[in-house]
Symmetry: C2
Subunit: 148 residues, 2 copies
């Protein structure tokens, strides 16, 4: 019999490529894009920190009541690594992903949804196991890439 599962946390690991470097290096813009992404995804913002690093790049974290969102940018590569970790049903991290993709002007983007804290829905017990990979999405052709 197949074991039904649900999960305490949904963690979208997102990679954004060929983004606008001027956006990626703009502290206040990254702050506002992340904040808006959190809001439209349905998250409740608890606290946020954004920092610009020398010579390039922004790191930012938003603690939300439903876990956290984080971004690290490398403008010199046009690359941003974004984590969208949520728990509960009231927040949809995919909505945040789509908003980020659009507003970072990413020509290529991926996400993998990692299921963290798997529960057996019949027994309610936590399964002691590593995360599992759920849905994955690719928003452009894989260019110069590598097989997974």
């Amino acid at each position: 019999m197949e074991c039904k599962q649900f999960t305490l946390g949904r963690h979208l690991l997102s990679e954004f490529y060929d983004c606008d470097p001027n956006v990626l290096n703009n502290l206040s813009l990254i702050d506002s894009v992340m904040t808006e992404a959190a809001t439209i995804a349905g998250a409740t913002i608890v606290q946020k920190n954004f920092h610009h690093f020398s010579p390039y790049g922004v790191s930012g974290v938003i603690v939300i009541a439903e876990s956290h969102l984080a971004i690290h940018t490398w403008p010199e590569y046009g690359y941003a690594a974004v984590d969208l970790f949520t728990c509960g049903d009231s927040v949809d991290p995919v909505v945040a992903y789509e908003f980020m993709r659009e507003h970072l002007h990413a020509k290529t983007a991926f996400y993998s949804e990692l299921k963290r804290g798997l529960l057996n829905s019949d027994s309610g017990q936590l399964l002691k196991a590593p995360f599992q990979v759920g849905q994955e999405r690719q928003n452009a052709l894989l260019e110069g890439g590598i097989a997974r």
Copy 2:
């Protein structure tokens, strides 16, 4: 010819099971354990935020000069999800993982090291590809678990 690669970011996704629930629900203790883990791993702390949620659980994020560390705890399950995201060679996230495992009193623990922002070390070019899974570690027998 095999393509040599290096990576902009090392992201350890850690799962800690059968932890001490009193530790997981103690805001100041989680703060001090995470802060010490960051320090002994060689990280430079930029800012940190820790919050206790009702009725149980702590969320915390430390922004470090080398990316971020994040924790979310579910004391009722004895479970903590911990992310240790670092860039550069001066910080070793595995050191932070080992420290966390010991101080959360986790009987079972896993990590997977995800390589984010892969570069071709010959050309220096960024490869437009999803993250890759590198080293994985399991620190106890898989009990009641599921195949990956």
